[in-house]
Amino acid sequence: MELNGTGIGEGIALGPVARMAEPLPEPVDRPTHLDAEREGQRATASLSVVAAELNRRGTQAGGAARDILEAQAMMAEDVTLADDITARLAEGKTAERAVFEAFAAFRDLLAGMGGYMGERAADLDDVSQRVIAHLLKLPAPGIPNPGHPFVLVARDLAPADTALLDLDQVLALITTDGGPTSHTAILAREKSIVAVVGAAGAATLADGDQVIVDAAADAVITSPTDEQLSAAKTRIDERAQRSQEPTGPGALFDGTAVPLLANLGSAAGAADALAAGAEGVGLFRTEFLFLDSQSAPTVREQQEQYTKLLTAFAGKKVVARVLDAGADKPLAFLNDAPEENPALGLRGIRSLRHSETILREQLTALAAADAATDADLWVMAPMVATVEEARYFTSLAKELGIRTAGVMVEVPATALLADRVLAVTDFASIGTNDLTQYTMAADRLLGTVANFQDPWHPAVLRLVAEVGAAGLAAGKPVGICGEAAADPLLAVVLVGLGATTLSMSPSALADVRASLARFTLDDARALAEVALAADGAAEAKAAAKSCAAERTAGRVPAPAT
């Protein structure tokens, strides 16, 4: 049987399912059938089993995780807690309820204290859930640990869950909820984990079920036949082979060059990006260097950091984005006033203009780093909404010694007037995540509207087409630097819409390179046309897929160079 969802990337994996258990319901407060002493024995036994398990995991994990796990084990065997539980049992409560209430009382106490103590509240919740699960003979909530590699099936993963994921053990991820920009999807893309998200049917999978997770087909195959298994194994081997082949510049089947660039937050990722064949940097997120700063970094500090990255990309293009503070990533020294609606507030170029000294210093530092290295530095402004802002940023950047200055297209207004915007600046780079959020009026950080956050939506694609056409008419480059460029099929559509370069997480480069090599520019335009004509995101993707299959039928892929 086949379960459908949204595949992340082109990967395929097979293995046994391990489910992430759901959080337990609150134990019902009803009188026990047993006596207090018997309930006390049950509670003590479960508390000590959980403590032993936490200690065992602590020893296995080592490092900082060991301290946390050992502290949790001590909480389970805490004498004050035991006294509290005994008192509640004396009132005739069940062990489950008494444990729940005793932990909850301490949890509320700690949560009320805030800060470091408050963070321990989550540790207590986790211990409480484990003890109650043991009492109820249910699987413990959280990441499973079956002791062998597994396909993780979850509703969706929280950041805290993913931090605990042992990536050597996880063959693939399947979620029943969550869309292509969910935390799970972002993690999968970043770490190159095979994933299918939003597969509602996966709720029926049980521990130990053998499944094939086929991200390219947006599907999970349950009870696979021998034929399906051997086909999957062949594809897994081919993919492993491909990632070891020498990489070349990004190009279409007909030879049209599509430079493939990397999204980077610091010089630390440069070596990996180059090894993956990045032809430069399409999005250098400068704010990530400064997120912990209480005050704006000095020109000298900035220049050092920029020089480090530019040196690593000598002879190549690096597109730096000036500080993009606000919304999901506030900077202490730029955004001090809380806003009701930060995604629509003083962010990006708006906040920089508000504190122009910071912008001037950053542009000065970037120009100095450019002069000191052999990289080809381009600089762009985030969240540009008007022609006037584009003109302002471009002339300020030029005045301070930046040779190539451009703007990001994230606001629909800028896409719609792309011809006029491109008339006053050197290039455009489309940030598809924000462009999608603003086009669909759906907060990209809000899980309940995650299904709107899909760059395949024809409304988003039409805006991309506007920018692509304006770029072609003006003879100016149009890059893509959002998650959309990392989707191998959508990447082809974006080229068909007029994108001249694609920038993505380095881990996505190999799949996108291979995908581009299968299509001509005519194919890409045909795919773009059918996607634009669709009613919605899913229809656009399906239409592009079937058009792709038709146009490449019987064609031999270009050899890797």
Partner: protein
């Protein structure tokens, strides 16, 4: 009459930058448990709590620089107190 060899009390200021939170609290209560003595800890003029209970200790909400009073009741009380006070004075976050 109280036997001076089996009880000992001292007040000290906390050395860890973030106070007696998870890790320092764990090290402290582990040491208390290992000593075999009966130990209490109080913050300022507050009520003394069982120092072998990590939850009771964390719940005191002890911050860096807070004054706490540790009382030990057991064999070798003075030596046990010295060891415990050492732990409280050390900055475990550095």
């Amino acid at each position: 009459m109280e036997d001076t060899d089996t009880t000992a009390t001292r007040s000290v200021r906390i050395g860890s930058e973030h106070g007696l939170h998870a890790r320092p609290a764990k090290l402290f209560t582990q040491a208390v448990g290992g000593s075999g003595a009966k130990v209490t800890i109080a913050k300022g003029d507050g009520k003394p709590v069982n120092a072998a209970s990590i939850l009771a200790v964390i719940a005191l909400g002890i911050d860096h620089g807070d004054e706490v009073t540790v009382s030990v009741d057991g064999d070798d009380a003075a030596a046990v107190l010295d060891r415990l006070v050492d732990l409280l004075l050390t900055d475990h976050d550095s």
